[in-house]
Each structure stands twice: as structure tokens, then as C-alpha cells.
Symmetry: C2
Subunit: 657 residues, 2 copies
């Protein structure tokens, strides 16, 4: 009756909420019961145990399966009251599992395919940390329940081919093979031979009767023994035993009282709604306590590590920065200000990583097949491969979405600070996972190079114009577009200081002069915006710019000053941070009065906040930037063609004076 | 030497531009030559021939392959001067193939995987139109050249499983199996057995030596004969014969003069840069003229159609609306105004489709497995399946990106007006292809329902907050968020009137009252924004709102008017259109003076344009909406929790009066 307890809780909670998905938890209850009873390494009383197995419900709409398991096995943060409060305001039991709402929810799922792709990152993290800390400290599996929806999403292909190439043998996917989607039978839209597909991707594949505990146990044992990632096709009936069994209706909320009662009877369940007999509850709690001894043994092993090692392990999991980082960044800034190189900010990012990576062993870098363009690989990292698990650089392949999700997984796993690169324009491909970084509060660092028409000849398909706006519009995301090598070093420091916010670094392809030639120990970028150059004489104009356009603004200032027009240049590398500064500071940077012109090789969308708001005046605000998609030509030609030049900026100022 | 002509043009153009990708055109020249010489149905002098085979270069970075083929076979819009001008401002020969730049460029490619996924739409269009018009009028193939990058992108999985399920036997993918990516050997990041993967997806698979014309011809013939979609693995050497052969260096721009000269010699090519001997050019031109007779025969068959059929065929390809549409929409609006139903705008969208689809046989609808939620299927459509090719509804499966790309393909093919649905939040998954709709100027209609926290319990993973801003920030994209059933009908009319712009319809899950209860024949939504309710007495406040929040603004108006505060409500369903209205009209709608409050259950980003700009005043502009991600709870609770209520709107107005 253990599995039936899951089924009834799911049925009751969905019926009470009059909303949700009953069929999946009912269908997968048997598989989940065997997994938790016989295979999953966990201790419900120690949900943060670093070496626990991770269980990821990729088919997140079946959230009641997870909540029921957490409640039954005795997770403190999942009392019955939360189950009863399913899908209500403020409940831990959100419609889809939300990371941070309760212990045991390892990741946010719901957008299909994200769970399985995030799990790849969990499994990579385990390999990397096992290589570093040894199997006594890190030695666990990552289990995933995925449905047909997860497997139809493109991201799943990126995930499973990455996992296959990397031979992530600790990753096991349990496919809820119920043959049903929302629109009807899977066959309506898909006839993929999933077993053959996984095998073609380098996985071992198994199958079982998803309602036969012995058969499930056999398949799970075999999957664990495999030296490749393993997929177990669990043949199940959605909404088993309910009138809606094996139908798309069964996928959704089953709320018909008499049908639900009939299902209960079919299951042989005689107890009332939300009622779990003590005997069954205590069987489940025994399962929840199954891992306690193993946890204690792990604690003992951990305690035998040197104090320095324990501190280092805990530091990385707590996302604390090494003490040396601040001084290291300052030294880099000083040297950069003094030597004033003309380099692309993508190159400056590499220069920052060259000093960061050696002192932060928790960083894991990578790129979606643009290593040489994103400048993400530093000399010391080594390559993460089956034969070199201590490598800290990942060749993600042409898989932007899979990369972003894997980074989420590594970050969620703990002990690792992932960063990865692609072109800013291909944010489009990674959006689904990038949004989850923000929603789950994971400080993933996205190294997005080739951040404007400045990339030149590759043309409009590769030139972001709306992407800065898209990313700035996304809650809990820092978008930093540094103007030179000094700001880039500062941007990296800010990104690494985050513990609950992802950062997008928007970096240029083209070389940029060092503008911050006077060394300041203070991280000026950490104010979001600041006065880079003050007006000489009466302040008549303020130029605001980011990234590669700051140099253009500086040149425009020269033109204007030459005509006696006092012009301030404000570098605004990070709007989100500037927005959070005290009003008094913002007022100092953007005082009322002068004409304001914003310069950015992207569309205007969003700039009105700074042009018209913040004491600005409608008649005195102008924009120099893009108004449509870009073009294919050398970068210099494009800047001229789209009139993003010092001359155009100066003219815009004078037009409004 | 025909293939060598391609190689040298690619080598010369890239070297002259000092930018581009030499290796792929060099490696695939033999395959492309056999394809164009022996298989592709085309007539270079009639590039718009509706029944031509489509050739899609999914590996778009190898653009010089396509440009060389178009030039050599005699496409008028691809003279040698364009080849010489490769990657320069204003040239037809952009870095990646851009649809519209020259005849013969069937679609924009470059973002990897898009071409192969778009091709699925081309092939679907061919099936649908063949079913409707008969094989005498529509009977062609879609050929794709795809590289490893295309196949690693997740979108390719969505594309090929959709094609497999739909048994699109006229679709043939030629895989450039050269084993090289930018980061190095494919093996660095991928070991997928592509043949097995395609087979698992329902494809027939073939292989050939990509440098042996006879073997290529054999494989292509076999692929054409298959009754499934077919993939031909063409084993090639990237940058064949060049010092960079079989290396990742060969992927990029080969610009070393002496190496290039050595390659020329290895190829036995003795002519100068950009020089094609007349004999070889005339051989190619003969290939370009090969289809002329077939084209003439087609013309004759087309001429035999009844005049009405010819007109109808041409109307659909010209994207002209049926005459009846305007009257039909007006009648629906009248009826809706009179009956004033309280329905969700997704339901209102279905009501509009119920009258549109019967009179527009060129529409093809679908959904990414949310048919019942997106309300995209009308009774008359029938389902597109291998056994019912005349069906006009597509069960796309859980493949948002694949759906969007397929819609691009159908639209580009011509003769079809595609629309498809998912939740607005999953715009994230479809972004890559949606951006291409805009860039390629394809009037695809995206039916994006569940457009805010109003979807309720599914929670923040499903609740868009930044997506309206993202879409509004995208050039050449209409974002229409109708307030009620009347505006929804108007929105559909606008979307269908577009010939060069995609439209996103943002539609509510929740029921909304009909606000437009007074029938107007004029399409008010086509002004972008308009006065829905005038202030009574002195106009002290203007409330601006979109979609489901317009009803909240109307209720707030009631509260304010009750206190004697004259309040106008402006419905702003489409910013992009409002922006294009004459200043005099915008001034009438948004005059200077009154307090302005914007109400939208999304983040504020972008609204400052209307609050502070347009004669607005900083101190007199306020926003009621979202400031972060949403939550999981019944919709009503969320609106209260996030304080998006009439009371909050009224309070915000009074605060600023």
C-alpha cells in the first residue's frame, strides 16, 4: 500500500485544489516507491547532505509525486498541511516543483525537458567533485523521472548526447512510458523509438513493467551497474485504476468525486482524504531514515579530512569567495589601467579568468563550440572528459540550451561555480534554461560575446539587437556590458560575488581602448553606472553608454568639448545595479538639467527609463543606436551605416541643446 | 571541374572578404554539384516557380556554396559582382544566407539547426498543397544540407521526429559528415550515431562517399525513392585539398595566399581569382536551364486550371486576403458586441478562427500539444496526417521550436498562412525561430495563450512576466494583447492583413468581460491604442492597459469617477502599431496634462515610453503590474497578492494627483 499512499495523496491534493495533474503521480507511484525504498541514497532528516543521490522530477507537472514522497518519507519542510495546501498562495507545494520552496526539491521543473538537461549538470558536478575529493566524499547517483514531453523537447537531445559523450554513468533516467500527452496518444505526434535513440546517443537502455516492483527493481539495479548513462523505459498506465486511465484526460486534474472514490476502491484504499494510516506512514518514514547510517558514516569520513580541506569544501558549497580574489582583481585592474591595452572585452574576460581560475578551483568553464571566440578557456583548466574527470573545461558542443541547463545543474548541485559562453544572439537558444537560472536564484555566469553589430560580417542572424532588452527585462538577472578591460575585471568580480543571481556578461568581439586608465581600487562597475568623464566647464550634456559604445561617447565628448559644450560621460555597465543605488547617488550621476543622449548598439527599448525618468526631460532625451536588425559588413562600415558614431552623438546633443 | 569552380569561388570570396567559412563549400562542392546537376528540379530563370524543388543550406555559414551555385547556374540576381562583394555592406551575399537578398535563397540560415527545421515546414506545405491542388501542380522535393552543428542543436531533434511521424517522404537531408566543429573534432563533444538516431525517428538512412559523384548520385536516387524522409550521410573532407583539410581551422576563413594557391594547384585549377572559364560556366548554365522544359510543362498544366482556380492559387501565394474576410470579421464583431460574452481571449480567438478558417483555405493551424488550451483547432480543419494530407491542423507535439520553424517553412514555401499555439511563457523555447520570422518578414501568427499570472496555479515557470517586453523589443514583430472578444477578432484581422510581419497574439486563460459593447465597423485595434472610455467631467487621469488588465482599468475608472476624478481609459493592444500612428492621433489619445497610470500584469520594462514620453511627465506617471516572477495560486489570489487590482490602480492615481 506504500505506492497507493502516493496515489491517494496526489488524487486528494489535486481534487482539493481543483487543479493540477493527477495521472502522472498515480502512474509512476510504483516506480518511485521502488526507487526510494531500494535505490535512492538519501536521509530525509539531512536533506542538504552533499553526497546524497539527487532525484529530479523532470516531468514537473507531476509535482504531487515528489511532494507525496517528501511528505511520506518525513521531510520536515513537507508536512501534511502543505500537501493540503497544494497550489495555494505561499504554499511550498507550488503547481510545479519550485527550487527553494522545500528541502528535497533539487531543481525547478515544469518547462518540459529542463529537468533531464539540468540533471546532466548534476551528474557532471558529481564526477568533477569525485575526481577532486575522492569517492569517500563524493559518490552518488542522479535519478530522473522524465515523461514523453521531456523527451520530445529539443533540449533533451542536447542533454542526452552530452551525457552520452561524457559517459555519465551515474545518471539514470526513468522514462514514464505511458503513451499519453495532452493532445491525445503520443502516437498522434510522435513515433520515435526512444530506446534506439538513447542507444544511438551512447546510453545503455533497459525496460520494465512500471507496475511490477520486482521488475522495476531488476531494471534499476541493472541501470546502476551500467558504465554508461542509463535509461529505463518504465511501461506505465497514466491514472492507473481511475476511470481516466490511459487517456489524455488522465493527464490533467481528476476532480470527479465518484470517479475518484471508485479509483480509491479499485486501489483497495479505505481511508479518508489525506488520511495515511500510521502503519503505512511509518513504513515510509523507515525508508526516509534508511540512509541515516550511511550519512553518519559519511560525516565520519568528512571529519577525517584535514581542517583545511573541510573548510575548502564547505567554502565552495557556501559559495564563499576565496579571500585572495579581491586582491587579485585589484592587481589585475591596476596592471590593466597602467598598460591600457586595446583589447576586446571577450579577451579582457579571458585575462580576468586567467587570474581567477587558479585561485577558484570551484569554477568550471565551457563553451558551446566557440571556445576560441568566447575566450572561455584558460591555460590551467584541463578538459573535462571521461578520461580526465579533474578537467574543469567542458566542450559542450553546439548545445547552448543544454549547456545552460547543465550549468544550472552544476550550480544547484553545489561545490561548483559554472560559467559558459556562446554568442549573445544565441541567448535565444538558451532562454528556457537562463530563465530558470534567474527563477532558481543560481549564480551562473553567462559569457556572451559578439554582443552587437560590432561582430561584423556574420550579419543579422548573429547580431543581437533586442537581446540586451530581453535580458534586462528578466527578473533577477544582472546584465553587465563592460566598456573596457578594467570594467570587465570588475564585472567578473561582481558576477562571482553573487550567490543568488545569474549574470550575463555582454562582451565585444572588437577591440576597445582602455578608458579606465587611472587605477581605482573601488569597483566602480559595482555601482551600476558612474561618471567616467566629467564635463569641463558648464555641464550641458550627459552621454550615457554601455560596452563598446562608451568609447564612442568619449569621442563624442571630445567633439562637444572642442565646441565648448561641457559634456559628462556616464558609463552604465549594469542597469539592474544602478537601479538599486540610493537615489542620492543616482541623482549625482544623472542630475536634472543637461541634455541626455544614450548610446548603445542595440534597440532603444528600455532606455526611456534613464532618458525620461530619473529627473530627465522628454524634450531633452535622445538615443543613438539600432532601430532594426543589423547587416553583414565589416564592423566599422556597420557603425557608420547605422550612424552610431561620435559625430552622430554630438549632432544629437546639439539638436536638443 | 564543375565542383572545382564552386571551390575556387568560395576560396576567392572568403579570401577577398578576409572573413567567412571556406571549408564547408569546398567539402560539399561535389555533393552539391551532383544534386544540382542530376536531381534538383529548378529553373534558374524562374526562381519563383511555385513547384520548384527547395534547396536549403541549413549549414548557413557555408553560404558561399549557395552563392556559388546560384551564380554558376545563372540566377540573374547573383552576378559575379555580388560574389566579389561577399560580406560587404549592401551585398546580396551576406555572411549567412539572408532570405530576400537574392532569388534562390529560400530561407535565412546561420543559427544552426534552423534550416533543417524550417525545411520540415517546406515539406509539409508541399504535402498539403499537393493534396489540395494535385500532383500536376504541386510535386516537388525539399533538399537540405546540414552539418554537425545543425544535428547537435536540440531543434533538429524536434524537426526530425516531426518529419518522421509525418512520413515526409519528399524531405531529404544531406548530412555533411566531415567530423569537424569549431572547437575541434566532433568527437570532442559528440559521439552520436546519427544514422541510428535518424532511423529511430522514422527516417530512411543512406550514406555515400561525398567526393565520389557516382556514389553520391546512387545515394540521392535511393533517398528520393524512399517513402520516408531520408537522410544521406555524405562522408566529406572539410577544406578538401587545402593545407587546412580535416581540421577545425578549415572551418573558418582560409586567407593564406600561398596555401590557397597550393590548394588551387591541387585541384588542377589554373585560372585567376574569380575567373570561371566560359566552358565551365556554360556547363553550369546548362544545369541552370535543365528545368526549363519542366517549368514550361508546368505552366501549361497550370494554364489548364479553371480561371477561378488560377486566381485562388495565385491569391494564396500573394498573401492576398479573400474579399469576404473583412465583412466576416465585422459580422463577428457585431454579434460579439451585442451578445457581450464573458470569455477568455483564447476562446475569443477560437471564435474568430471558426469564421476565418472556412473562408481562408490557406490557413494551417496547430499547437505544441496544447490544443485544448490554445483553442487553435476549429471544427472544419481536419488533421494533417500521412493518411489525411488535406487536413489543416497539425499536432506538433511538445516541440515549440520545431513548430515555429515549421511555420516559417510553410510561410516561405508560399500558398499557406500558418498559425500555431503554445503558452506565452514558452516563447522562450521558440525564440530562435520566432526571431527568424521577424528577420525574414514572414507573417506567421503565434497564438500565445495563458499570457500572465492570470493562468493561476501552474505557477512562475508558466507565467510570463518579461515576455511581452522581449517580444516588443524584437524588430518587425507585432505583439497584440487584446482586451476582449471584439479586440481579439480585430487582432486576427490585423495579423492576417500582414504580409511581411509576424504577429504574436497574447491571449488570456481567464474569462474577460466584453468591453466593446458598442459595435464599430472600424478596426480600433488597428490604431494600436485608442480611447475606450472617456473621462466624465474634467480629465484628470489616463489609465493605459492591455489585455486582461483593461477590465481592471475600467473598474478603476468607476472607482475614480465615483470620487469625481475624471478618468479616461486607453486600451493599448499593440504598441508597435500605436507608435506608427500620426503624432496628431497619438496626441489625441495621450494628451499632456493628466496623471498616467499603466496597468499590465507583466514587468514595467518598456512602459516608460508611454508614461514619460508622449507628452507625459515623470512625476505624473505610475505603473501597476509585476515586479518579479509570479506565484502558484488561483488567479484571483495572485492578482490580489501582486496588487494588480482596481483599488491599487485608483490609489496610484490619487497618489499622483
Amino acid at each position: 500500500m506504500k505506492a497507493t499512499a502516493i496515489r491517494t495523496l496526489a488524487l486528494d491534493a489535486v481534487a482539493a485544489a481543483n487543479s493540477g495533474h493527477s495521472g502522472m503521480p498515480i502512474g509512476m507511484a510504483d516506480v518511485a516507491t521502488v526507487l526510494f525504498e531500494k535505490h535512492l541514497k538519501f536521509d530525509a532528516s539531512a536533506p542538504d547532505w552533499a553526497d546524497r543521490d539527487r532525484f529530479i522530477l523532470s516531468a514537473g507537472h507531476g509535482s504531487m509525486l515528489l511532494y507525496a514522497l517528501l511528505h511520506l518519507t518525513g521531510y520536515e519542510s513537507m508536512p501534511l498541511s502543505e500537501i493540503k495546501n497544494f497550489r495555494q498562495l505561499g504554499a511550498a507545494t507550488a503547481g510545479h516543483p519550485e527550487f527553494g520552496h522545500a528541502a528535497g526539491i533539487e531543481t525547478t521543473t515544469g518547462p518540459l525537458g529542463q529537468g533531464i538537461a539540468t540533471a546532466v549538470g548534476f551528474a557532471m558536478a558529481e564526477e568533477i567533485l569525485r575526481a577532486r575529493w575522492g569517492a569517500k566524499i563524493m559518490d552518488h547517483h542522479t535519478w530522473v523521472i522524465a515523461g514523453d514531453g521531456c523527451l520530445m523537447e529539443g533540449i533533451s537531445q542536447e542533454a542526452l548526447t552530452l551525457a552520452g559523450r561524457q559517459e555519465l554513468s551515474r545518471l539514470i533516467v526513468l522514462w514514464d512510458d505511458n503513451g499519453i500527452t495532452i493532445d491525445g496518444k503520443v502516437d498522434l505526434s510522435d513515433r520515435t523509438d526512444q530506446m534506439a535513440r538513447f542507444a544511438a546517443s551512447g546510453w545503455d537502455v533497459f525496460s520494465c513493467d512500471g507496475h511490477d516492483p520486482e521488475d522495476i527493481d531488476r531494471a534499476l539495479s541493472a541501470a546502476k551497474a551500467s558504465d554508461k548513462p542509463a535509461m529505463v523505459a518504465c511501461k506505465t498506465h497514466i491514472a492507473l485504476g481511475h476511470a481516466a486511465q490511459d487517456t489524455s484526460k488522465g493527464h490533467g486534474a481528476l476532480t470527479d468525486d465518484s470517479q475518484n472514490q471508485a479509483a480509491r476502491e479499485a486501489w483497495g484504499w479505505t481511508h479518508g482524504p489525506f488520511e495515511i494510516p500510521a502503519e503505512i506512514k511509518s513504513q515510509w518514514e523507515a525508508i526516509g531514515a534508511r540512509g541515516a547510517a550511511e550519512k553518519a558514516a559519511w560525516d565520519a569520513r568528512f571529519a577525517k579530512l584535514s581542517n583545511a580541506k573541510q573548510v575548502e569544501f564547505s567554502r565552495a558549497f557556501a559559495r564563499q569567495l576565496p579571500r585572495k580574489l579581491s586582491a587579485t582583481i585589484k592587481a589585475l585592474k591596476k596592471q590593466t589601467s597602467e598598460t591600457a591595452p586595446k583589447v576586446a572585452t571577450r579577451k579582457a574576460s579571458e585575462m580576468a579568468l586567467e587570474v581567477i581560475n587558479p585561485i577558484m578551483p570551484e569554477t568550471v568553464g565551457g563553451s558551446a563550440d566557440l571556445t576560441g571566440s568566447n575566450n572561455t578557456k584558460t591555460g590551467d583548466l584541463g578538459v573535462f572528459m571521461p578520461e580526465s574527470r579533474d578537467g574543469r573545461y567542458v566542450y559542450y558542443g553546439i548545445r547552448e540550451h543544454g549547456m545552460a541547463a547543465a550549468m544550472n545543474g552544476m550550480s544547484l548541485h553545489g561545490g561548483i561555480r559554472p560559467y559558459g559562453g556562446t554568442f549573445l544572439c544565441f541567448t535565444d537558444y538558451a532562454r528556457g534554461a537562463m530563465r530558470l537560472s534567474a527563477l532558481m536564484k543560481q549564480p551562473v555566469v553567462y559569457v556572451m560575446t559578439h554582443d552587437s553589430i560590432g561582430l561584423g560580417e556574420d550579419g543579422p542572424t548573429h547580431q543581437p539587437v533586442e537581446h540586451l532588452a530581453m535580458l534586462r527585462a528578466t527578473p533577477n538577472t544582472l546584465v553587465i556590458r563592460p566598456a573596457d578591460a578594467v570594467e570587465t575585471a570588475e564585472a567578473w568580480e561582481i558576477a562571482l560575488e553573487q550567490t543568488e543571481t545569474p549574470t550575463v556578461l555582454a562582451l565585444s568581439r572588437q577591440g576597445l581602448p582602455t578608458l579606465r586608465t587611472e587605477h581605482k581600487t573601488k569597483n566602480l562597475t559595482a555601482q551600476g553606472g558612474y561618471v567616467l568623464a566629467e564635463a569641463e566647464g558648464k555641464r550641458q550634456a550627459i552621454l550615457m553608454a554601455t560596452g563598446s559604445e562608451v568609447a564612442i561617447a568619449m569621442a563624442a565628448r571630445d567633439l562637444l568639448q572642442a565646441e565648448g559644450i561641457g559634456t559628462r560621460v556616464v558609463s552604465m555597465p549594469c542597469w539592474e545595479i544602478f537601479e538599486e543605488q540610493p537615489d542620492a547617488y543616482r541623482r549625482k550621476v544623472l542630475p536634472a538639467g543637461p541634455v541626455r543622449v544614450a548610446v548603445e548598439a542595440a534597440i532603444r527599448f528600455g532606455w526611456d527609463r534613464w532618458l525620461y525618468g530619473e529627473r530627465g526631460k522628454r524634450e531633452k532625451g535622445g538615443f543613438v543606436g539600432m532601430h532594426d536588425f543589423g547587416g553583414s559588413a565589416p564592423a566599422g562600415d556597420l557603425y557608420k551605416h547605422f550612424e552610431i558614431t561620435p559625430e552622430a552623438v554630438a549632432a544629437k546633443v546639439k539638436e536638443m541643446l
